[in-house]
C-alpha cells in the first residue's frame, strides 16, 4: 500500500493538470517548430536561387507557427486563468486534474500533427511560388485550410478547460 | 616553215627521206594510240561517273544518320565509341598496263566484316549510329574502287595529252620541217645539176669555137699557101 500512497502523493490533481498544460504547450510547439522548419528549409532552397522572393516565402513560413501559439494559449488558460496556480493556491482533486488533462488533449495531439501537415502544404506552396510567384495567395489558402482543424482543436480544448472543469 | 640546217647533199637527202618515212609511220601509230586511249578513257569516265554518283548518294545518306546520332550524344561519348576503329585491313597495290600506261590496281582483300563487329557497345550509343557505321563500312570497297578508277583516268588523261602533243608535233612540226628540208635539198641539188649542165654547154661552146678558129686558121694557112704558090 505504501507504493499507492506514494503515487497518490505525487499525482495530485494539480500535478496532473500541469502535465496536461505542459504537454499542450510542448507538443503543439514541437509540431509548429517542425512545420516552420520544413517550410524554412524549403524557402531557403528557393531563396538560394531567387533571393527576391523572400517576402512572399516568409508569410508562408509563418503559417504553421500558429499551433504553437494555440498550445501556449491553452497552457495559459489552465495554469493562469482557470487554475490560478500562479497567484492563488487552488487545490484540484485528482478527478479535476484528470479533467484538465483531458481538456488539453485536442490541442496537444491535433496541434502537433496539423502543424507538420500544414508545414508540408506550405512547403509545397513555397515550391509553387518558386515557379509561379503570382500564385502566392492560392498557396496560402491551401495551407490555411489545415489551420481549420487546429482551430477546432483549440476551440474544443478551450471550451472544456473553461466550462468543462468545475472548480470549487 | 623553218627548215633544218643541213648540207644539201644527196647523202643528207637520203637520210632525211628515211627520217620522214619513220616520222610518218610514227605519226600514224601515235594517232591510233591516241584514238584507242580516248575510247578507253571515255568508257572509264562514264563508269566512274556512275560509281561516284552512287558513292556520293550513299555517303550523304549515311552522314544524315551520323549527324543525328551525333546530335544526341556528347562529344566524349561519340569519340570514345569510335576510339577503337575497325580491324586493320590489307590493301596490296598492283599495276596493270593499259596501252603502255601503268595504272594501279587495288586488290580488295578485306577480311569479311562480321555484321555485328561494332567498335562500340550498344548500351551507351544510340541506334542511329549503327546504320551510319554499316554504310560507311559497306561503301569502303566502292570508295577504293573509285579511287582506283579516278587515278587510272588521271593517268590515262596525262598519257592522252602526251600522245596528242606528240602527234601534233609530228604532224605540224617535224613532218612539215622534214618535207621542207627535203624539198630544199632537192631544189638545191636540181639547181646544182642545172648549173653543171650550163657549164658543160658553155665549155662545149668554147671548144666548138676553138675548133672553128683552128679550122679557120688552118683554112687561112692553106689559102695563103695557095696564093703564094700562085703568086
Amino acid at each position: 500500500m505504501e507504493f499507492i500512497d506514494a503515487l497518490n502523493k505525487i499525482f495530485t490533481g494539480n500535478v496532473i493538470a500541469f502535465f496536461g498544460a505542459s504537454l499542450a504547450a510542448i507538443l503543439s510547439g514541437m509540431g509548429s517548430a517542425k512545420g516552420v522548419g520544413i517550410v524554412g528549409e524549403a524557402a531557403a532552397g528557393v531563396l538560394s536561387e531567387d533571393p527576391g522572393k523572400f517576402g512572399k516565402l516568409l508569410v508562408l513560413q509563418a503559417l504553421p507557427g500558429t499551433q504553437g501559439i494555440y498550445g501556449l494559449l491553452i497552457w495559459f488558460m489552465v495554469v493562469v486563468v482557470k487554475g490560478n496556480f500562479l497567484f492563488g493556491n487552488t487545490v484540484l482533486t485528482v478527478e479535476q486534474g484528470w479533467q484538465m488533462f483531458a481538456a488539453c488533449l485536442p490541442i496537444m495531439i491535433v496541434g502537433y500533427f496539423s502543424a507538420i501537415a500544414q508545414g508540408r502544404v506550405a512547403a509545397a506552396g513555397v515550391q509553387l511560388v518558386a515557379k509561379r510567384p503570382e500564385e502566392q495567395s492560392k498557396a496560402m489558402v491551401l495551407a490555411a485550410m489545415v489551420e481549420t482543424y487546429a482551430i477546432f482543436a483549440l476551440l474544443a480544448s478551450f471550451l472544456m478547460v473553461f466550462f468543462g472543469v468545475k472548480i470549487g | 616553215m623553218a627548215r633544218i640546217q643541213v648540207n644539201p647533199t644527196r647523202m643528207e637527202l637520203l637520210r632525211l627521206k628515211k627520217r620522214l618515212a619513220v616520222a610518218r609511220r610514227g605519226h600514224k601509230l601515235l594517232k591510233d594510240k591516241r584514238d584507242e586511249l580516248m575510247k578507253r578513257f571515255l568508257d572509264l569516265v562514264r563508269s566512274n561517273r556512275d560509281l561516284r554518283q552512287e558513292v556520293e548518294t550513299r555517303l550523304a545518306e549515311a552522314f544524315r544518320e551520323f549527324v543525328l546520332a551525333r546530335a544526341v550524344l556528347s562529344r566524349e561519348a561519340l569519340e570514345s565509341a569510335l576510339l577503337m576503329g575497325a580491324p586493320p585491313l590489307d590493301l596490296p597495290v598492283d599495276t596493270q598496263n593499259i596501252m603502255s600506261v601503268e595504272v594501279p590496281v587495288f586488290e580488295l582483300l578485306f577480311a569479311e566484316y562480321r555484321a555485328d563487329e561494332l567498335p562500340y557497345g550498344m548500351a551507351g550509343t544510340p541506334g542511329e549510329l549503327d546504320a551510319a557505321i554499316a554504310t560507311f563500312r559497306e561503301i569502303l570497297p566502292a570508295m577504293l574502287r573509285l579511287a582506283e578508277m579516278e587515278k587510272t583516268a588521271q593517268l590515262l588523261a596525262e598519257e592522252i595529252e602526251k600522245t596528242r602533243r606528240r602527234v601534233n608535233s609530228l604532224e605540224y612540226v617535224l613532218i612539215p620541217r622534214l618535207a621542207e628540208t627535203i624539198r630544199f635539198i632537192t631544189m638545191k641539188l636540181d639547181e646544182n645539176e642545172r648549173g653543171n649542165t650550163t657549164r658543160l654547154m658553155k665549155v662545149k661552146d668554147m671548144m666548138v669555137r676553138q675548133a672553128l678558129e683552128q679550122a679557120r686558121k688552118f683554112d687561112e694557112g692553106v689559102a695563103a699557101e695557095r696564093e703564094g704558090r700562085l703568086a
Partner: protein, 382 residues
C-alpha cells in the same frame, strides 16, 4: 564479385530533402520547356540558340556545344551536392567512371594489335598468352587487376584525357595508373572487376563492342544493386525501366544487323524489370513478333516501331520515344513533395534539354529541316 550482399539502408525521411527539393524546383523554372524548345527549333542562327542557352543557365563560351556539356556537368554536380544522404553520388557517377575505363581499355588494347595481327591464338602475344593460358605473370589468376598480363606500348594519360568524362568517382589518372600498373585494390572494386572482365572477353573476341558490353553489363548489374540499396522504390523502378528500354533497343539493333547467335546475350543488360530471357527468346524473331511480344508491357509504344526498325530515321524516332517514356516515368515520380525523385527528375530534364539543344545546333549547322528536328525533340515539360 563485389559486395554481393549490399545492406539495404533505411532511406532518409523525406523532410531531409526539403531544402534540396525546393531549390531544384526553383531551378526547374529555367529549363527550356516544350513550347520554348519548339520555338527554338525554328531558330535561324546559332546566336538565337546561344541566347536561349544563357537564359537556361548555361555558361557562355566560344563553342555552344562546349558550354552545353559544361553547363550540364555543373548542374549535375550541383544536384549531386544537394543529396542529403550518401549513395546517390556513387550511382550517378559510376557510369562516368565506366566510360573512362572503356576509353582506357580501348586505347590500351588497340595498341595490342600490331599490323593487323590479332592476338587471339597468337602464341607470341603477351596478352593473349597470359589470358588464354589462364595465368598472368605466372600467378594464379584472380579477379583483381594483378591477374592481367602486362599491356605493351600504352598511350599516355594526357593523350586520352580529351575522351574522358569528369567528374568521376575515381580520378581519371588514378584509373589509368591502376590499370596500367595492374595494381589491385587501388580503384573502386566495380572498375577493377569490369576491367578484368572486359579484357578477358576481348581476348576471346577482339571487337570493341565486346569490350564495351562487358563493362556495361557489370555496370548495370552494379547500378541496379546499388540503386535498390538506396531504398527508394521509384528510383529502383526507374532504373529497371531504363534498362528495359536499353534492352529493347539492343534487341532491335541486333535483329536489324542480323548478328549471329550469342551476340544478343552479350549485349543485353542485367537489372531490368523484364528478365533477359524475355529478350533472348526473340533472337532471330521478326519485327512483328517483337511488337507482339511486348504488346502487354510498358514498352508497347516502342516495340510498335519494331517492324520498321532499320529504315532511315526510325532509329532516331526510337531514341526520342524511349526518352519520352522515361520522362513520363519521371513525371509520375515527381509528384512527391520532397525526395530524391525531384532531384533525379531534374537531372533527367536537364539531360533531355541538352539533347534538344544539341539537336537544334546540329540541325542549324548541317541544314537539317526544322520539321525533322521538331520530330526528334525530347519532351521537357515537367
Amino acid at each position: 564479385m563485389t559486395e554481393r550482399t549490399t545492406a539495404f539502408r533505411r532511406p532518409a525521411p523525406d523532410t531531409d530533402y526539403a531544402y534540396a527539393s525546393s531549390r531544384v524546383r526553383a531551378l526547374e523554372a529555367r529549363v527550356l520547356d516544350g513550347a520554348r524548345m519548339a520555338r527554338l527549333s525554328e531558330a535561324q542562327s546559332v546566336d538565337e540558340v546561344v541566347r536561349a542557352m544563357a537564359e537556361a543557365g548555361y555558361p557562355s563560351g566560344e563553342q555552344p556545344e562546349q558550354s552545353l556539356s559544361e553547363g550540364l556537368a555543373a548542374q549535375a554536380a550541383l544536384v549531386r551536392d544537394l543529396f542529403p544522404e550518401p549513395g546517390y553520388d556513387e550511382v550517378l557517377l559510376l557510369p562516368q567512371d565506366a566510360h573512362n575505363l572503356k576509353v582506357i581499355l580501348k586505347a590500351f588494347l588497340s595498341g595490342q594489335l600490331p599490323d593487323g595481327e590479332r592476338f587471339v591464338g597468337d602464341e607470341t602475344s603477351a596478352l593473349g598468352e597470359g589470358l588464354l593460358a589462364g595465368s598472368g605473370s605466372g600467378d594464379v589468376p584472380g579477379d583483381d587487376l594483378a591477374s592481367l598480363p602486362r599491356f605493351a606500348d600504352v598511350p599516355t594519360a594526357d593523350s586520352l584525357r580529351p575522351y574522358a568524362l569528369s567528374p568521376s568517382l575515381e580520378p581519371f589518372q588514378a584509373v589509368y595508373e591502376a590499370v596500367r600498373d595492374r595494381s589491385a585494390g587501388r580503384i573502386h572494386p566495380f572498375l577493377e572487376a569490369a576491367a578484368v572482365a572486359a579484357v578477358r572477353a576481348f581476348a576471346q573476341d577482339p571487337v570493341g563492342s565486346v569490350l564495351d558490353a562487358a563493362v556495361d553489363r557489370l555496370l548495370y548489374d552494379t547500378l541496379s544493386r546499388k540503386v535498390a540499396a538506396l531504398g527508394n522504390p521509384w528510383f529502383r523502378d526507374f532504373q529497371a525501366f531504363r534498362v528495359d528500354l536499353l534492352n529493347l533497343g539492343v534487341l532491335l539493333r541486333v535483329l536489324a544487323m542480323g548478328s549471329p547467335a550469342g551476340r544478343l546475350a552479350q549485349e543485353l543488360l542485367p537489372g531490368g524489370s523484364l528478365p533477359e530471357t524475355a529478350f533472348l527468346r526473340l533472337e532471330g524473331a521478326t519485327g512483328e513478333q517483337v511488337a507482339d511480344a511486348f504488346r502487354a508491357t510498358p514498352l508497347a509504344p516502342l516495340s510498335a516501331l519494331a517492324p520498321e526498325y532499320g529504315k532511315p530515321g526510325v532509329a532516331a524516332r526510337f531514341g526520342r520515344l524511349a526518352d519520352d517514356l522515361l520522362s513520363a516515368r519521371v513525371r509520375t515520380g515527381r509528384r512527391v513533395l520532397f525526395g530524391p525523385e525531384i532531384l533525379l527528375g531534374y537531372l533527367h530534364a536537364r539531360e533531355m534539354e541538352a539533347k534538344n539543344l544539341r539537336l537544334v545546333l546540329t540541325a542549324l549547322r548541317n541544314g537539317i529541316r526544322s520539321a525533322q528536328v521538331r520530330d526528334l525533340l525530347r519532351d521537357t515539360t515537367f
